[in-house]
């Protein structure tokens, strides 16, 4: 048992649901108690999704506990198959089903007899893997399932496309800025003259998965999601993959050069050097930003980076290598993949922290006192408490991290966004600091928080007491409205009665 109230990566089933609901016409059925379908709320709220999230629960209740799920799971699968006619139903185990140890595999086999669509059981164990690992595994599982199915039906498309083409693997729902990143990646591929064969799992149809082998190579933009699939495809079809995240100017160039190598090995004659130079020097503003005097002022400033592997590693390199910022600590919560992280960032920071305990990171921030933090929502709040600005670079994230405006983190537009993020975080801190040095806003003493500070109205002790219990941020408004009401009624004293009456009349 461990004491915890904040976690960076969610439970395994969230990963599976993120994959299933990213595909088109795939439905997930969770074997779970009432209330575990919170995923639907998150997707509907954070992504502001217009469609019903294709996730339902086969409810585990007292009866199930006493007698087992029996027909319930099978019935629910078959029912969903008829109602929505999905191409695939993914039965998703949760922590509850992990300990019930029912034979879910058997339920799937039985449901498959009656269901028109395909049915599979997500191969994830709540107690062994987290959200990210489960997502990676589920994607690979679905790809493998449909590759095998196509082989059996002998309609696997193995012939490469005539022109260089790519599968982009690992773009999913509830991924940090994934919807903007994919647009940027598609633009980048188009500029490189590479056609996009398939993007998975984002809005893909499972029927298209048999076309995966047609691409010349796979691009895996995120470390956490898609690598298993890319490795599987490499093993099956000798299809090479590029797993360099094109985040930051240097890494984007490295990614493009890797792509060039991969396709030239297969007979293309691409030379992207001119493109890289043009983009770096003249299209992206990030290289120019590093040279400008704004960035000069950031030299040697201390920063702390914490997040998932992809974003924390990329950010560390950008700050240290491209902006001359002193990264005193870089960390990740992807404990299961810590070696990769160490290897990526060790030359760019003083210290490395691998931890899932938010308290540990908060302590490190407090001790090291950086000028800015780049982390998750949790680090943002630590920053608030310590008065240190924070740029959010990784999940867990809130609704404000699902912007409507175009905000990719990858590619050349991504470098611009990152430059803004970094610069704004630091200048905000500077501005606050300067204000303090020069005595703050000079209006501070003049303006009071309520306009009715010198009131001619008497508040009775009771009413005052009640007013004091109103939350601080609306208290001023309640006070003003009540006094307005009292004046209108020609009252000079505000009693509890008046307070309530005012609320009733104006909703104060």
């Amino acid at each position: 048992m461990k004491l915890a109230y904040w976690m960076y990566a969610g439970p395994a089933h969230i990963g599976t649901l993120r994959i299933a609901s990213s595909f088109k016409n795939v439905h997930a059925i969770m074997h779970a108690p009432l209330g575990d379908d919170y995923f639907n709320v998150m997707r509907s709220m954070l992504e502001r999704e217009r469609n019903f999230t294709p996730v339902t629960a086969s409810i585990v209740d007292r009866n199930v506990l006493a007698r087992g799920s029996q027909e319930k799971v099978v019935d629910n699968i078959v029912r969903k198959d008829q109602e929505e006619q999905p191409d695939l139903i993914v039965l998703t185990p949760t922590c509850t089903s992990s300990i019930l140890q029912e034979d879910l595999e058997n339920f799937v086999a039985r449901a498959q007899l009656d269901a028109k669509g395909d049915v599979i059981l997500a191969d994830v164990n709540h107690y062994r893997v987290n959200e990210l690992q489960a997502g990676d595994r589920t994607l690979q599982q679905i790809v493998q399932f449909y590759i095998n199915k196509a082989r059996k039906q002998e309609n696997l498309a193995t012939e490469k496309t005539p022109q260089p083409s790519v599968n982009i693997i690992g773009v999913s729902t509830l991924g940090f800025h994934n919807n903007h990143d994919i647009r940027e990646l598609k633009t980048l591929m188009a500029e490189l003259g590479i056609s996009v064969n398939l993007v998975i799992p984002d809005k893909a149809s499972v029927h298209d998965l048999k076309k995966l082998p047609q691409a010349w190579f796979n691009l895996v933009p995120y470390r956490e999601l898609g690598l298993s699939t890319a490795k599987y495809l490499e093993q099956e079809f000798d299809q090479p993959y590029v797993d360099i995240t094109p985040m930051g100017v240097v890494e984007t160039a490295r990614c493009i050069r890797a792509i060039q190598g991969v396709i030239n090995d297969q007979g293309a004659t691409a030379d992207y050097e001119a493109f890289i130079e043009e983009q770096t020097l003249h299209v992206s503003q990030a290289a120019w930003f590093s040279r400008s005097i704004d960035c000069q002022n950031l030299t040697g400033k201390k920063a702390i980076v914490f997040g998932d592997n992809t974003h924390a590693a990329a950010m560390t390199k950008i700050l240290a290598r491209e902006m001359g910022i002193h990264v005193v600590l870089a960390g990740t919560y992807c404990k299961y993949d810590a070696d990769w992280f160490r290897q990526e960032v060790s030359e760019y920071c003083d210290e490395i922290l691998i931890s899932e305990d938010h308290g540990e990171i908060a302590d490190a921030i407090a001790c090291l006192e950086p000028a800015a933090i780049f982390g998750t929502q949790m680090e943002r709040h630590v920053g608030k408490r310590l008065n240190i600005p924070c740029g959010v670079i990784a999940a867990p994230i809130h609704i404000q991290n699902f912007p409507i405006g175009y905000r990719p983190f990858v590619g050349y537009e991504g470098t611009n966004q990152l430059a803004d993020l970094v610069y704004n975080s630091f200048t905000l801190g500077m501005e606050d600091h300067l204000l303090e040095i020069f005595g703050g806003h000079d209006t501070k003493e003049v303006i009071t928080t309520t306009m009715s500070a010198s009131s001619d109205l008497n508040w009775t002790t009771e009413a005052q007491g009640q007013l004091n219990k109103v939350p601080g941020f609306v208290r001023g408004k309640v006070k003003r409205n009540t006094e307005k009401y009292a004046r209108a009624q020609g009252l000079s004293e505000i009693s509890l009665e008046v307070l309530y009456a005012a609320k009733e009349s104006v909703g104060a």
Binding site: Y5, G35, Y38, E462, K469
Partner: protein, 472 residues
Amino acid sequence: MTVAQETPNLTFDCETGNYHTFCPISCVAWLYQKIEDSFFLVIGTKTCGYFLQNAMGVMIFAEPRYAMAELEESDISAQLNDYDELKRLCLQIKRDRNPSVIVFIGTCTTEIIKMDLEGFSPRLEEEIGIPIVVARANGLDYAFTQGEDTVLAAMANRCPSEPPAPTKEKEEDTAAATRFQKLLNLGLKKKEEAPPVATEQKEHHPLILFGSLPDPVAANLEHELKKQGVKVSGWLPTKLYTELPVVQEGYYVAGVNPFLSRTATTLMRRRKCKLVGAPFPIGPDGTRAWVEKICSVLDIEPQGLAEREAQIWESLEDYLQLIRGKSVFFMGDNLLEISLARFLIRCGMTVAEIGIPYMDKRYQKAELDFLARTCQEMGAPIPKIVEKPDNYNQIQRINALQPDLVITGMAHANPLEARGINTKWSVEFTFAQIHGFTNARDILELVTRPLRRNTNLKDLGWDKLVKEEAAV
């Protein structure tokens, strides 16, 4: 209590129970804030933690007095001893926070592995020297607000049955000041005693109210009763665990929320209290009926309630104009549905369906009767009450009925809005202040918000925002 009779006129239905609601462990979110010296320990898995972390939003960053005791594989396979593990965590909590009570929230997992929380907590309590209250608020048995019910039912057993031995200071405290005055004194200088209340207190049996409400709302309800000469002897829960009210045999108890049936049962059966079966003080109609029923039980002639109610209705007229004649559909997820539907019918709306997770026809009898009577008086059609609804079927019915407003969870709200159906997120009714005469306006503020917003946008032609009608 006599065996409840089926309320005439109302029709009850029960579906599959495939519906969306919050897990009952969410009750820690408001209860830890209400009971200020408590610490809530949710004994469960990452799934529970993830839910709380996301559902509680920014509260999570405010050093909440709750935590997960996260079960790991070694706990599940019993390689570790539950008792020792919990003791270790409790000592850590005691050291860091020193609460007056630790509430263990049992979850689905502790149920399945049959962790004997009730069994070993007395021993643990003795060893660490802090009371431990066990509430099994799990998703196997309960929905959303019922979590509070399980906690309060457990706390009802902890209310002292005798007043504490009167030390000098205590005596002054309990005798000179009512609970209400004490609350007021918290933020004030000791000297400024609250002025004596105008209305005289009448002699009556002690009355305890149960249900967790924000302090201003609780004070407001007490004020309404005080105007009738009714003194509230105590609340379950109180601001501090150490101040739980004395509950003795024969005391009257009244619920303020419709989801507190276990608490009511515990107070009646274990503490031998008498339950005041009344509609709930939601809406001016409900508040008046609630006060009247309490008065009638305590043998007090209520004064001026009709005028008070009429006056509130009058002040609501601007909102009533917006909703009169409109239809509303409750998908059901927090058990407030019957009371809210009753209030909205009185407001002139028609209710197509009342979905509700669980319907206790005994505890809610007075409210159900009031609903039937309200329908009759307003000439409104009798709504169908659907227990354990099936969200999929409900969406079919919503598509067919095209109601003017659907009160639903966040999982369905955006998709319905995109299909041109007005929605109000149901959870807001749980956290907004909706009790008493004074807060009637707040309920209508919530109910009319989507209608007002959409009136503002109505000429833009942006009603339906989905490309292909998904096959739902």
